[in-house]
Symmetry: C2
């Protein structure tokens, strides 16, 4: 059996999220003492923690998360080391050079900035290196299947341009990944990001993993 690597951030009552999003809340609906079993109730944004976006997030007539082909959620991928990027600077097509050959062979990419280490500090949600408009265009040009990242959103400034461009071309965007340093460099792995089957919806929290041969 392959080695399984967990690439997900924790979900818990009161965990921080994007400022405008509904707050996550998890409470005990019943317990061993009341009904004979413990069972929790979860309230969450569909974009809390490690999650993926559907086209519907930015298109009223867009593909919803339950319709996303699972072949776009289980992909060959490589990690790109961006841990030397300065905070609050754009990630450009030039930065992607080290993994371009893999992308040209059909691989997806996980952008490893190391920014996840700031979570759960509020500073996690701003000032991160970000996907430039040029890089969003480049991903479209390369017809990449999926782009994952350990930042909370691809770009805090030109967020509309980047999402509309990438989602418009059905590029799967996985945000809020964690612990990407566990993935070896220059190695193709299988990345799994399986959304809950939420009918008609705009995204889903996921438990993202990599399988290493």
């Amino acid at each position: 059996m392959s080695k399984i690597i967990d690439l997900s951030a924790p979900l818990y009552d009161g965990a921080p999220g994007m400022a405008m999003d509904p707050k996550i809340s998890i409470s005990w609906h019943c317990t061993l003492e009341t009904l004979g079993y413990n069972l929790s109730r979860l309230v969450t944004s569909l974009h809390q923690g490690t999650h993926m976006d559907a086209q519907r997030h930015f298109y009223n007539d867009g593909e919803t998360i339950d319709k996303l082909p699972l072949e776009h959620c289980v992909v060959k991928a490589v990690r790109l080391d961006l841990t030397k990027k300065t905070p609050d600077t754009p990630i450009t097509p030039e930065d992607l050079k080290p993994v371009e050959k893999y992308i040209d062979q059909g691989c997806s990419v996980l952008l490893h900035t190391g920014w996840d280490k700031k979570f759960p500090d509020p500073s996690f949600f701003s000032g991160f290196p970000y996907v430039s408009k040029e890089l969003a265009d480049w991903f479209v040009e390369k017809k990449i299947t999926l782009v994952g990242m350990d930042i909370p959103t691809p770009n805090g400034y030109d967020w509309k341009y980047v999402h509309v461009k990438m989602l418009g071309q059905r590029i799967v965007i996985v945000e809020g990944l964690a612990q990407l340093e566990q993935l070896p460099p220059d190695t193709v792995f299988t990345f799994f990001s399986l959304p809950l089957k939420l009918e008609g919806r705009d995204g889903s929290p996921v438990r993202a993993i990599a399988l290493l041969d």
Copy 2:
């Protein structure tokens, strides 16, 4: 790449659940028109639809869903055809004979009753063929890793016995699977049931899939 088979039931606003559980509700927190993007808020039991149980569901000091080793969530498994079972009758160790050799080789099992076809009718939640106390004991004896099923809970009568026995031995229980008929008979596949990383909690909804070579 292997063939991916979706084994999950849909999640949607107002979908039926177990009578005592919190009701699932999904609504638009904001839209393209209000904040420039569509984003939903989900309220759900952690045991809605296709989901898995952690030991914590029946043990106050039990292992929580975020601590479940992922090696127990990605397993070799076979499907057992139980579609000829009469409603409201026990599934016994005798019924498991056709797949015993696979279980003895370390495989997990998915119990295919076909009961998922009743969803979302309220009749889905009662009257199903169920895991007998003897079968729960047999699973423990066989040291099986995971048992999946297309019924809403293993046993509606002796629910405490069956859960306590199986979870006590760290057997992963996946409930509410769907469309198991897509899996070929007498074939080992890889089953994925990856829980959200919900710290300190009793279960998780999942997108369950099988990979067929």
